[in-house]
């Protein structure tokens, strides 16, 4: 199926823009072709195809168990598809395009301090960062006072903020893959993330996310992908 169940709250202008980018064929940061995924003997989706251009946001929705998380993990590079391919700038491996994945789990070590945990996450992904950049990112999320505190003393919402603070450091037009990023965030946190998403889209970055639509700021341009329409 080709972008079935796709509707466009951003208006016709965006639709025209995205179809123009397909015909002019500058390679999209992310293109998914004929993707099929199986969990055990169950087929989650077959022949899924979509493209995500620079400066675009795609909101993946679907009922529980439709494979939203599995799709995001697949695109992040975890696991293998039953069929089909995922292309980054036209290539099978994300060589140039940097992919930032923030999953359900926050990937923070309980015994590390907040700044150590964040530094570790950035370092394993090849970031070379000074303490000032880390502090700035934590300050952006209102966690500067807790930067020496062990992660185990933080609340769920604060942990989510630390995990998302990775995005504040990002300056590249990378592909963000965010699984339920608004989970556990309070109103301040939601606003902060929406602002970050806006900045990222403006610099030509792409975002693929799941989660409640209510949390996503209404003025952010987005397209939707409904997995309920893609099942077999």
């Amino acid at each position: 199926m080709q972008l079935k169940g796709f509707h466009n709250p951003g208006g016709d202008a965006l639709q025209a823009l995205s179809s123009a980018s397909i015909t002019a064929a500058p390679l999209a940061p992310l293109a998914v072709q004929g993707l099929a995924l199986e969990r055990g003997s169950r087929r989650l989706f077959t022949d899924l195809a979509f493209e995500l251009g620079a400066g675009e946001m795609l909101w993946v929705r679907g009922r529980n168990g439709r494979g939203k998380t599995s799709l995001l993990r697949l695109i992040a590079g975890l696991g293998a598809a039953a069929n089909g391919q995922i292309l980054f700038d036209g290539k099978a491996r994300a060589a140039q395009r940097h992919v930032v994945y923030v999953g359900h789990a926050n990937a923070l070590k309980e015994d590390l301090s907040v700044s150590e945990a964040l530094t570790f996450l950035l370092r394993i992904h090849g970031g070379r960062l000074d303490a000032a950049a880390i502090d700035a990112a934590l300050g952006h999320w209102g966690l500067l006072a807790q930067r020496q505190a062990p992660v185990r003393t933080l609340s769920q919402g604060q942990r989510r903020r630390v995990a998302l603070a990775r995005l504040s450091v990002e300056r590249r037009a990378s592909l963000w893959v965010l699984d339920e990023p608004f989970d556990a965030l309070d109103a301040d946190g939601i606003e902060c993330l929406n602002a970050l998403l806006g900045t990222h889209l403006q610099r030509g970055g792409s975002v693929l996310l799941t989660g409640h639509q209510a949390a996503l700021a209404a003025d952010l341009p987005r397209r939707e992908l409904d997995l309920d329409d893609c099942g077999t």
Binding site: A76, G77, A80, V99, Y101, H104, A107, K109, E110, G126
Partner: protein, 226 residues
């Protein structure tokens, strides 16, 4: 890739420093287990001297297994393993680096203290100095093998219930060659013979494990995060 290796080893050492009591458990197990044998077997110096090298090797083996079974568990549970596996966008090489780094950190925290502790217990069992030196040397060659093989077992059983016992059942038979050549070298040194052959074989085993175990762990880890 080197940055990933370093970041992971530094983090593991730092975590061990934060949880000192947990990091000391394997060495504590080794100390207690070795110290129990003279009490159970009796105080004849001749008997104790004869069994000491093999006994210490077996205790080192068990102490390593004790801590290796949970090598990837906490990283798997809190999502860190996912983040690690997508470095280099899920490439096999980065998985190999992760397995190698975790094994190296595990050896530094378990194997290395055992190598240091063994000579002290050699004195307790009244072993002659050349035998003690050979024992420490064979453990130096042998304990990395145990950490590397343990990493394979831990990766294979990741996410399974009762993984702890399963790891021991999978890995212990694989460690038999290391045990045979390690204790063989000590026995040869004790008997006044040359231990070069045993040590060479143990060294060859270490090189072989070093080259293959991280690959096997990496393949198992990729299956685990799917």
């Amino acid at each position: 890739m080197l940055a990933l290796f370093n970041a992971l080893v530094v983090r593991d050492l730092r975590l061990a420093l934060r949880r000192r009591s947990e990091a000391l458990l394997p060495i504590g197990f080794f100390v207690i287990a070795v110290a129990l044998f003279p009490l159970g077997i009796g105080p004849e110096p001749q008997t104790l001297r004869a069994i000491a090298p093999g006994l210490m090797w077996v205790c080192a083996l068990l102490a390593t297994m004790l801590s290796v079974s949970s090598l990837y568990n906490s990283d798997h549970a809190d999502g860190t393993l996912d983040q690690l596996m997508i470095c280099g966008h899920g490439s096999f090489e980065s998985a190999v680096v992760i397995a190698a780094a975790r094994s190296a950190a595990h050896w530094a925290l378990t194997g290395a203290p055992l190598v240091i502790a063994a000579p002290l217990f050699g004195l307790m069992f009244d072993l002659p100095p050349p035998t003690i030196a050979m024992l420490a040397f064979t453990l130096l060659l042998g304990t990395p093998i145990l950490s590397l093989l343990g990493s394979v077992g831990a990766a294979l059983t990741l996410g399974l219930r009762s993984a702890g016992v399963l790891v021991i059942l999978i890995v212990l038979p694989l460690t038999v060659p290391a045990l045979i050549f390690g204790t063989g070298a000590v026995a040869a040194a004790e008997g006044g013979q040359s231990a070069v052959a045993h040590c060479s074989l143990l060294g060859a085993l270490l090189i072989f494990t070093l080259l293959t175990a991280p690959l096997a762990s990496a393949a198992a880890l990729r299956l685990a995060v799917e």
